[in-house]
Symmetry: C2
Subunit: 427 residues, 2 copies
Amino acid sequence: MSTETLIEPPLQDADALIADMGGRARAAAKIMATAPTAKKAEGLRAAAAQLRGQADAILDANARDMTAGEANGLTSAMLDRLRLDAGRLGGIADAVEAIAALPDPVGAEVDRAERPNGLVLRRVRVPLGVIGIIYESRPNVTADAAALGLMSGNAVILRGGSEAVRSNRAIHAALAAGLSEAGLPAEAVQLVPTQDRAAVGALLRAQGLVDIIIPRGGKGLVARVQDEARVPVLAHLDGICHTYIDAAADPDTAVALAVNAKMRRTGICGATETILIDRAYAAPRAIVDALVAAGCEVRGDTDIAALSPHVTPASATDWDCEYLDAIVSIAAVDGVAGALAHIDAHSSRHTDAIVTEDAAAADRFLAEVDSAIVMHNASTQFADGGEFGLGAEIGIATGRLHARGPVALEGLTTYKWLVHGTGQTRP
Amino acid sequence: MSTETLIEPPLQDADALIADMGGRARAAAKIMATAPTAKKAEGLRAAAAQLRGQADAILDANARDMTAGEANGLTSAMLDRLRLDAGRLGGIADAVEAIAALPDPVGAEVDRAERPNGLVLRRVRVPLGVIGIIYESRPNVTADAAALGLMSGNAVILRGGSEAVRSNRAIHAALAAGLSEAGLPAEAVQLVPTQDRAAVGALLRAQGLVDIIIPRGGKGLVARVQDEARVPVLAHLDGICHTYIDAAADPDTAVALAVNAKMRRTGICGATETILIDRAYAAPRAIVDALVAAGCEVRGDTDIAALSPHVTPASATDWDCEYLDAIVSIAAVDGVAGALAHIDAHSSRHTDAIVTEDAAAADRFLAEVDSAIVMHNASTQFADGGEFGLGAEIGIATGRLHARGPVALEGLTTYKWLVHGTGQTRP
């Protein structure tokens, strides 16, 4: 296999390219919007079968991406994210089948009311329309973001990273073939055919053509998308999550939750980055020791640093830092009010937790913390669509509008009002 | 009373002004977010009492706006929108009290689930945060938009039109005094203190400070806001609403709905602008005649023009025109499919209706029309928050995200996830 060069014709007009794709996506979205659940599920199962049937072509394309990536000096972490093998590809097909089995939100009645004049009003869920997904090197996103978008009755326009371009094209071809086989429009899933970044800019500006943009990837990508987009964006930039240990916390629970919330997996957005300990809590040292014993670097304020020689002093920037690593910052605070003030100043409003046996303290914390997810006596690592029973997730949103927290099928829908009359005129 | 000049210091830094107001609004929003329903209602009732108690000052301020407006050559329609009298001001106070009596969406449980590991997940409604309201010459908007925003637990930043500046300041002072009297933060309702348009630009760009912008006014205002805003906007630009008369329509119902939908009030966004008549419908002439008899100018395509000498030929632009007047365009179409194609091409996705006794035709129309409101055998003039039982409305949204159709208290909230655990760690 040679390290081929990827030849692309120069992009003449990014807006025209996206307008054309968007128009075709809109037409496909109209068909997807009223496709029965069974038909959408059939399309996804056919897509999964195509992923399995075209495994050789997909793995070959991925091998060429890997060769190019090595030649281009990708880090081993990036190469690992890029790499597919038979097992990983089987997992991707399994995930598509699992999404096909999820309950369909489309058509569900949100509420219903009858007016004194006899009009019956119903709000029912309908798809958002056309979803743009912009992602980086993981080729599995091509399949699972597409599957979530399609199962919720939308059309999707995918724009993956240049490192994975051959893999993404091969996976996309399998998905499109599956949809066609099931009698659904292949154009409900389109892949931007160029790696020219001007196409991303055009997608971000495509108001009226694209209903929502979902960026999947690192902070640089999300920040660029949030900054440039005129189309609404569903995403989170940071996951600066807090676990607050209240004076009334059970000591064993406190240690277990602190260690799990920080250390179970340090690289996920729901990992706790800062632990707040009530000055009135009896056993702060045990928390520090358990974290140190688990291999965590502890950076503390003056009170915390005094507890153990293993604590290094935290600097001012530590309180706004998403380490995504085995590092934690710990601050002493004065009760729930102190925790609320710290969280208000430093949280990225993703997930924050309180550990306490005091119901009143928990109620106040849950009521006043203004984050997408607020937890009592649970690990912030549960912040995940699968753990929330949504079956999957397309991401976690920290914005305030439309959808907050883990977003899966329902978050990819909106509603319309249906009014059933018998000839009523308005007086 | 003299026609005074309104002296304003020049605006040095619009972004700094809005940042300062936004920061104070955010602090007030935190208090409003957890204020009990009874306290918010008390604040609004006190505000209504202040509006009544300060009637002389408000009516005097309004008289000065009227004098200035006459001197500046405002049209009689604009002067009528601007004018307050004791009756109108009483109506404004009544509306604030009515909003105080509405059910509070904040804290309502959207859904609840228990996971196999014992975690209990609840989604509960919380306020959006800080709402910016940009409006034109009607001073009543100052009170009713503020009341809706406050009752749903938000802080509001108001920016009214320059013609109404004195009236708005007087009404705002009454509202702020009412909040203070009830022990709520007066800064939960702020009025932009300058008419410099740079302040509007700063408000539209105030991401992170303002959570949503709601423009209330004519198409020029809404278009400018939608074009410039980086903050999400809830609004509708056009109300190009359709009533489709199916072959299976009851003729009396068809005439009654066509006339009511078009002519009850021609200036509202839910007024029908285009009537589509199935070529297979038996009595199209009666619809045309009834509209003509009601004083409506009828512009028709070739088929419709052949029905009556009172029909003038429609031009291509008529199908995309929001007349807001006693003018209607009528097109003949081939059944539901023809109506769907016309609506897809020309509807502003506000409200569209079908008139038919054929349940299958109605079902198809309701399923396939992609508008915020879709009606069967009812007048499009019912498109209104009050008529929908919402108690009021801050506007009607034709965007697809967050809230669609009439928006009242619930549309000014979002949700957060509350997770109740007993020490669960994630495996």
